[in-house]
């Protein structure tokens, strides 16, 4: 089963919900931190890393001896990643989407493929749980390939909890696509509601069952609840705005461990997710 934990913006407690949900289950669970621009789940979890893998993508390399500067490569590239000026071919690897267009179109066979490292993936364990996250290399911007790579490590015989990146663009879609359930974490504030509505639109477009967790409930107003009711989305859990929780969180500790009454609340949340998700679909991307 795949549960993707998402929120329209950062700082809503998405990672807190994802990690505490995992800890409440304790085993047969894998945490997949897909926020590859700013992975932070490991800070709370302190996993023992057992494997590190590079994520590479092919990018073009041009042989100036063969090139006749015909510009066909530049014309085909939709991303402006290759430019021909003044009898020079420039490549902008960070813009390249590795589509292979330039390689295919070059009449002189001047373009070859070289490998560029986009980022790395680290796999590890925390007690009886599995952990995986990815990290974008400095200066790289191609996020979705790293998320897709992380997702190839989905454990189909256990629960996979994805900590999705914030926002609603390509990286988030890559982290929600193929999930059995999307858990939307929000705050009861006007900003929270605004970002929530965007996230809900994305989830509806993908046709994935979903529900809401309100974090820091009690602050702000009731707009989120009204919105959820109008949209027919269930509010599955409310985590109150409390000093004790804030303290646990700021020490990098698990709410379900320091405040045991929360373990049951997260297990109840998991039950409701299972009911709403229905029979799991199985393999990612199908």
């Amino acid at each position: 089963m795949i549960i993707s934990v998402a929120s329209g913006k950062g700082g809503t407690g998405k990672t807190t919900v994802a990690t505490n949900l995992a800890f409440s289950l304790g085993k047969n669970v894998q945490i997949m931190d897909c926020d590859v621009e700013e992975p932070n789940a490991h800070l709370f979890l302190d996993p023992a890393v057992t494997e590190t893998l590079p994520v590479v993508a092919p990018v073009p390399e041009v042989d100036p001896g063969k090139c006749t500067f015909c510009k066909k490569c530049m014309e085909i590239c939709r991303y402006g990643a290759i430019a021909v000026v003044a009898k020079k071919v420039l490549t902008f690897e960070e813009l390249c989407h590795s589509c292979g267009g330039c390689l295919a179109v070059c009449p002189e066979d001047a373009v070859s493929e070289k490998r560029r490292e986009l980022g790395i993936i680290e796999k590890g364990t925390i007690r009886e749980m599995s952990f995986i996250h990815g990290r974008l290399n400095i200066g790289q911007v191609m996020v979705p390939p790293i998320i897709k790579k992380i997702r190839t490590f989905t454990n189909h015989w256990s629960v996979n909890i994805i900590d999705a990146p914030p926002g609603t663009s390509c990286p988030v879609i890559a982290a929600m696509h193929g999930a059995d359930f999307v858990l939307l974490v929000t705050e009861p504030t006007p900003f929270g509601l605004h970002d929530l509505t965007l996230a809900v639109e994305a989830v509806k477009l993908l046709g994935i069952p979903h529900g809401i967790v309100i974090n820091r409930a009690g602050m702000g107003n009731d707009e989120v609840k009204r919105y959820a009711q109008n949209e027919g989305i269930d509010i599955l859990m409310e985590i109150p705005f409390s000093k004790e929780i804030a303290r646990v969180y700021s020490r990098g500790e698990m709410i379900v461990e320091k405040m045991p009454e929360y373990k049951q609340k997260f297990l109840d949340l998991f039950d409701r997710i299972q009911t709403l998700a229905g029979p799991v679909k199985g393999v990612v991307g199908q």
Binding site: Y79, G80, A83, V85, L90, F92, L95
Partner: protein, 119 residues
């Protein structure tokens, strides 16, 4: 000598567009006789990425040797540099005024991008 100016309009009296890659037009002016050619840059305005690179390539094709603009990102700068085009970043007023200021020697050339990407 030919110089390119990023412009909001199609003639010499149009205001300079401070953006380069996403300028509406690129006007390539011959400083000798003020004859000019207009490049419609509109397909670049909405380009997802690489607008500055494409704009740089198109003024290079018209054999401009200097670019007068407001902001120039790193990828555009790299392309302009490879094409041997010098960049002056503080152009203001109309295209005609910018060209005159250039002829009066009022510009200094940038030695790097003055804005991060996405322009």
């Amino acid at each position: 000598m030919k110089i390119a100016v990023s412009s909001k309009g199609r003639d010499l009296d149009a205001p300079v567009d401070p953006r380069f890659g996403r300028a509406a037009y690129l006007v390539v002016v011959d400083t000798e006789n003020l004859e000019f050619e207009v490049i419609d840059n509109s397909k670049n305005i909405n380009a997802f990425k690489g607008a500055g690179i494409n704009a740089a390539a198109s003024i290079s094709e018209r054999e401009a040797k200097v670019l007068l603009t407001g902001f120039c990102g790193p990828n555009a700068f790299k392309t302009l540099e490879a094409a041997g085009i010098k960049v002056a970043n503080d152009a203001t007023g109309t295209v005609r005024e910018a060209v005159q200021a250039f002829k009066d020697g009022a510009f200094s050339y940038a030695d790097g991008a003055n804005v991060d990407g996405h322009w």
